[in-house]
């Protein structure tokens, strides 16, 4: 116990004296929390639409006015012909072209209406398909309105009510903020302990430790504990900012969040130490860490939904500890879930913590 205390004292002194680390611990959560929520929106609220109106009827005008009035679109004018609209699409000035054919209104009530031509730039698949859906929705609504005025069938979409739970205003920032907290923890708890240990290897100081009777467990714990504490502090800073700047407070209990965070931080720093132990140089350690952090960020449901991945990829994600924490954070922070409701996630994360920290201790070899 005495050994662990002196080793901890040493680690904390070193972190404090590092010219850049303490700044990163404070600046990173602040900078990310203040800036990133403003850019991370995939919500397509600005689909640039041009209309080629070859019909010039009351229906086509109604469609145009609906598009103009919608908050989803920014209307870029009536194009005179399809050609010019298409070149505007190529250059990125517009995203979707609506071509209303001549005779659209006349044929609308017939068995075979003349179809409206929709062209979207689908390089960005989300934006392309969502934009298209919005346009269809708006057009159907416009036509439905006219038909209803004429006493014809109203479209059935009118009898569906939509209710958004947990985030009624569909605020994308609220969706991203828990994810950002996870990213900050991931960066701090994966990279820094790994770098820290390999730098001792490269400078030779670890050899001086290896020749002492220090146990592997105390040495590893002394490396890990500071990052557990820092992780929890950093999370608290981020949560405070979420409340002050974005008015977002956890719907669920703080206890559930901190329990999840503690398990996560313990897991990830254990992982960092294990990677460091098997690396010879800092460069190796950082490349391997980089590899995993990229995978964790892009395949744990942090930035893109897990369900949109193919089944095999979804199965693979069960191996990634961040997956569980992402679910815990969103469920507790936004939906107010209790620990009991998502206990599987907690259990899996706890298992990961045990596995990675055992690995971290076992891969540390004092004698080669």
């Amino acid at each position: 116990m005495g050994t662990l205390r002196v080793l901890l004292e040493k680690e904390i002194t070193q972190i404090r004296r590092n010219p850049i680390l303490p700044r990163i611990f404070v600046a990173m959560p602040i900078a990310l929390m203040l800036v990133i929520p403003w850019i991370t929106t995939m919500d397509v609220n600005d689909v640039k639409v041009a209309i080629v109106d070859n019909d010039c009827s009351s229906v086509s005008q109604r469609i145009t006015s609906h598009v103009k009035g919608s908050t989803y679109f920014s209307f870029r004018g009536n194009a005179t012909d399809y050609q010019s609209a298409q070149s505007a699409l190529e250059s990125g000035e517009i995203d979707v072209i609506i071509l209303i054919p001549n005779g659209f209104e006349r044929n609308l009530s017939s068995q075979q209406p003349k179809p409206i031509d929709l062209t979207a730039n689908a390089v960005n698949a989300t934006k392309g398909s969502l934009g298209m859906q919005y346009v269809m929705q708006t057009t159907i609504k416009a036509i439905g309105e006219i038909q209803q005025e004429k006493g014809l069938n109203p479209t059935s979409s009118d009898v569906i009510a939509i209710k958004y739970f947990y985030n009624e205003t569909l605020n994308y920032q609220h969706y991203m903020i828990p994810a950002l907290m996870i990213i900050v923890l991931l960066l701090i708890c994966c990279f820094i302990p790994a770098l820290n240990i390999v730098s001792e290897k490269e400078s030779g100081t670890i050899e001086q430790i290896n020749v002492t009777p220090v146990s592997r467990l105390s040495f590893t714990l002394a490396k890990l504990i500071p990052f557990w504490i820092i992780g929890i502090i950093v999370l608290s800073i981020a949560m405070l900012l979420a409340w002050l700047v974005y008015g977002l407070t956890p719907t669920g209990s703080l206890g559930a969040i901190y329990l999840g965070a503690a398990l996560f931080v313990v897991t990830m720093s254990g992982f960092g130490v294990a990677v460091a132990n098997i690396s010879d140089t800092m460069q190796q350690a950082i490349f391997v860490m980089f590899f995993f952090v990229m995978i964790f960020m892009l395949m744990s449901g942090l930035l893109t939904p897990l369900t949109s991945m193919p089944q095999w990829a979804q199965d693979v994600t069960y191996l990634f500890p961040p997956r569980y924490f992402v679910k815990i954070m969103r469920a507790v922070y936004l939906k107010g879930a209790t620990i009991a409701e998502i206990k599987m996630e907690y259990i899996c994360l706890a298992c990961a913590a045990v596995v990675f920290n055992t690995l971290a201790t076992l891969t540390y070899k004092k004698q080669s």
């Binding site: 002196v6 040493k10 002194t13 590092n18 030779g204 050899e207 009777p213």
Partner: protein, 246 residues
């Protein structure tokens, strides 16, 4: 006291197909200053690392302070001190913090820690630099601090791997005074060096060539055996036989 503190028999270490240490055998008795000489790449450091429990022998056996180097590495570690050729204290900790860290690691009580740190600083006449970051010290001083750290817990034996490399002659002298002091207090010294004048200070000297021990005796007897005037000439005669290049 008759039993040797280090006993090594047919010790080997191979890295893939390279035999760094080839069947060496020797004994070191308590209180000796044992010089472990050899050209660069002769296998000194590898052999020393096996004795300290940092590296497993490929074959052969050995005991240090009565413990088997293959199976009882961790037990050996509480009985020895070690100072590597690379300076390996923490640059970003002060002299005092480094000493306190290692005192704590070796399980010294708070009282003992403060007392032995004071003693060491006194001995080095270094009390004024107690709170200086180690990284800011000149190399000679760093090495002296490293030696103090290695002997803080009064180990039975201290392993020194080229402790005076790159250090000026005056500091080297002071360093050897520290070594003599420790030896006078009963600590066994196991030291590697490239300086042949330092070899003359040792009670006994072994010379390694290409992973084997080619000569082992007191400096005086070695000079007689090779009929030369200095250890330097003994070394040159033997080193010329080396086939390995660095």
């Amino acid at each position: 006291m008759n039993e040797p503190i280090i006993h090594v028999e047919n010790l080997c270490k191979k890295f893939d197909d390279f035999t760094a240490v080839n069947q060496i055998s020797f004994d070191v008795s308590r209180g000796e200053i044992f010089g472990f000489l050899g050209a660069n790449g002769a296998g000194k450091t590898t052999a020393m690392r096996m004795l300290c429990g940092l590296s497993f022998p490929t074959s052969g056996m050995g005991t240090v302070a009565g413990f088997n180097i293959r199976t009882e590495g961790e037990k050996i570690k509480s009985h020895i001190g070690y100072m590597s050729q690379r300076f390996s204290l923490y640059d970003d900790l002060t002299v005092f913090e480094n000493m306190k860290l290692y005192a704590g690691i070796y399980g010294l009580s708070r009282q003992q820690t403060l007392q032995s740190i004071d003693e060491k600083l006194e001995q080095l006449q270094f009390a004024s630099e107690k709170n200086t970051l180690v990284g800011a010290l000149p190399l000679g001083w760093k090495q002296k601090v490293a030696f103090s750290v290695a002997t803080l817990h009064r180990p039975e034996i201290v392993f020194l791997d080229e402790p005076t490399g790159g250090v000026d002659p005056i500091t080297r002298r002071q360093f050897w005074e520290l070594i003599y002091n420790a030896a006078a207090n009963g600590t066994t010294i196991f030291v590697t060096t490239h300086y042949m004048d330092e070899a003359e200070y040792c009670s006994r000297v072994s010379i390694m060539v290409d992973g084997k021990i080619e000569a082992l005796d007191s400096p005086k007897k070695l000079k007689e055996q090779f009929s030369v005037q200095s250890m330097d000439e003994v070394f040159r005669t033997l080193a010329r036989r080396a086939k390995r290049t660095e």
